[in-house]
Symmetry: C3
Subunit: 156 residues, 3 copies
C-alpha cells in the first residue's frame, strides 16, 4: 500500500538528489525500463507526444548524466526544486502501483549568484514500490511554459 | 477527526482543480453557504472587511466561473499554485471542523510563455468533513501584496 | 519517535511565526544552547564555517529580535516562506533526535507591495522532541545564492 507519506518521502528524496548535485544517483529513482519525458503544456493540449527530452530506459538517463559531467559548454548552475502537494490519480494492484500528479517550481541559481524562477509545472507519475522506496515507472514532466526548451540542462 | 494528511490531500486537490483548468469543479470545494474572500495583508491589519473579491455562497462562485468562461477580455493565462505546509489553528466539534492557515505562492503563465511570481500569501480556512473529502465553510485568501488587485482573473 | 508528520507540523509552525510577524516567538523554536547559522552554498563547498549570521545560544536570537524591533533603519518588509518536503538524514536516540534537510524559498514583500524571490536554499537541522513540539538543537540555513548577504534582515 502506497500512501501520501510515501509520496512525500519519495519526492523529497528525488529533489534532494538533483539539488545536492548527486546526479549519478538520479537514475536510481527509476526502474530499468522507465519512461522519462519532459514536455510542456501546449504539447499536451495538442496531443503531441514529442518531448523536449525523451528516454525510455534508465541507461539513457545514465548517459545523460555522464554527458552533463563531461560537457562543460554550459554555464555552471544549480536548481532548487520546491515540490508541491501530490494528488493521487489512480491506485492499481492493491495499491502497490499508483499514479499521481504533483506540481513543482524550480529556481535556477547561476554561478554568479543570480537566481530566477526557472520552471513551473507538474509531474505525472506512475510509481511502484521497490523495497522500502518508491521507483518511477513513468514520469511525464509537463512544464507550464514553452519558453524553457533550449535552456534545460539539469534534470527536472 | 481531521488530521494533517486530510489537509494535505484537500489542498492538493483544490490547487489541481484550478491549475488543470477544471474551473467548473472549483465551487465543489465549498459548502453551499460558504464565504470566500480575497483580500490583502494591509486590509487585514487595518481591520477592514473589504475584499477584492467577496462571495458568501457557492452560487456566486459558480457565476464567477461562468463569467470567466464567457468573457474573453483578458489575456489567456494559467496559474501554478504551490501550497505550503498547513498549520492547525483550532479544532471544533470533536475535530470534525477545523481552522487552519496555509501559505501559498502562485506563478502566472501567460499564453506567450512568460512566467512570473504572481501572488504570495496565505489561506485562512474553516473546513468541515463532507464524506471522504473536506469542504470549505470559509476561506479568506490574504495576499501579501496590495499590488495584485486589478490583475486578478482566475481564482486563488 | 519523530515522524514525517511531526516534521511537517514543525516547519509549518516555524514559518508561520516569522511570516505572521510574531518574531518574539521565533527563539522559542530553539533549545537554549541551540546553534543557528546562516551561510551560503559556496561557503559550505569550500568548508568554511563562516556564516552570514552566527548564534550559539537562544539569547543571541532574542537579542537579534529586540534589535530588529528597535532599529528602524531598514525598509519595512515581510517574508513568505514556502517550505518544501523534508528528507530524513539520520535518527538518533531511538528516533527522539533526528537530522533532516528541507528546501525552502522565501518571497520578500516590501511595504510598497513589490514582491521578489528573495532567497532559496535548504535547512539542515538537528531536532529534538520537547513535549508535543519539536525544537531546534542546530539549524544551518544554506542559501543558494551568495548575493543575499547584505540584504538580510528578518530571520530565515
Amino acid at each position: 500500500m502506497i500512501d501520501l507519506l510515501d509520496l512525500l518521502a519519495f519526492h523529497a528524496d528525488y529533489a534532494d538528489t538533483i539539488d545536492s548535485d548527486r546526479l549519478e544517483e538520479w537514475p536510481g529513482h527509476f526502474v530499468e525500463d522507465a519512461r522519462y519525458v519532459v514536455t510542456h503544456v501546449e504539447n499536451i493540449q495538442e496531443g503531441l507526444s514529442a518531448g523536449v527530452i525523451y528516454a525510455d530506459n534508465r541507461a539513457m538517463l545514465e548517459d545523460r548524466v555522464a554527458a552533463l559531467r563531461q560537457a562543460n559548454i554550459y554555464e555552471k548552475q544549480r536548481y532548487r526544486h520546491i515540490i508541491g502537494l501530490p494528488k493521487f490519480l489512480e491506485r492499481e494492484r492493491e495499491g502497490e502501483r499508483i499514479q499521481c500528479r504533483t506540481p513543482f517550481v524550480v529556481v535556477r541559481i547561476m554561478a554568479g549568484g543570480d537566481s530566477l524562477l526557472f520552471a513551473s509545472g507538474y509531474y505525472e507519475d506512475r510509481l511502484v514500490r521497490d523495497g522500502s522506496a518508491l521507483k518511477i515507472q513513468a514520469r511525464l514532466v509537463v512544464c507550464d511554459s514553452t519558453a524553457i526548451d533550449t535552456l534545460m540542462v539539469l534534470p527536472l
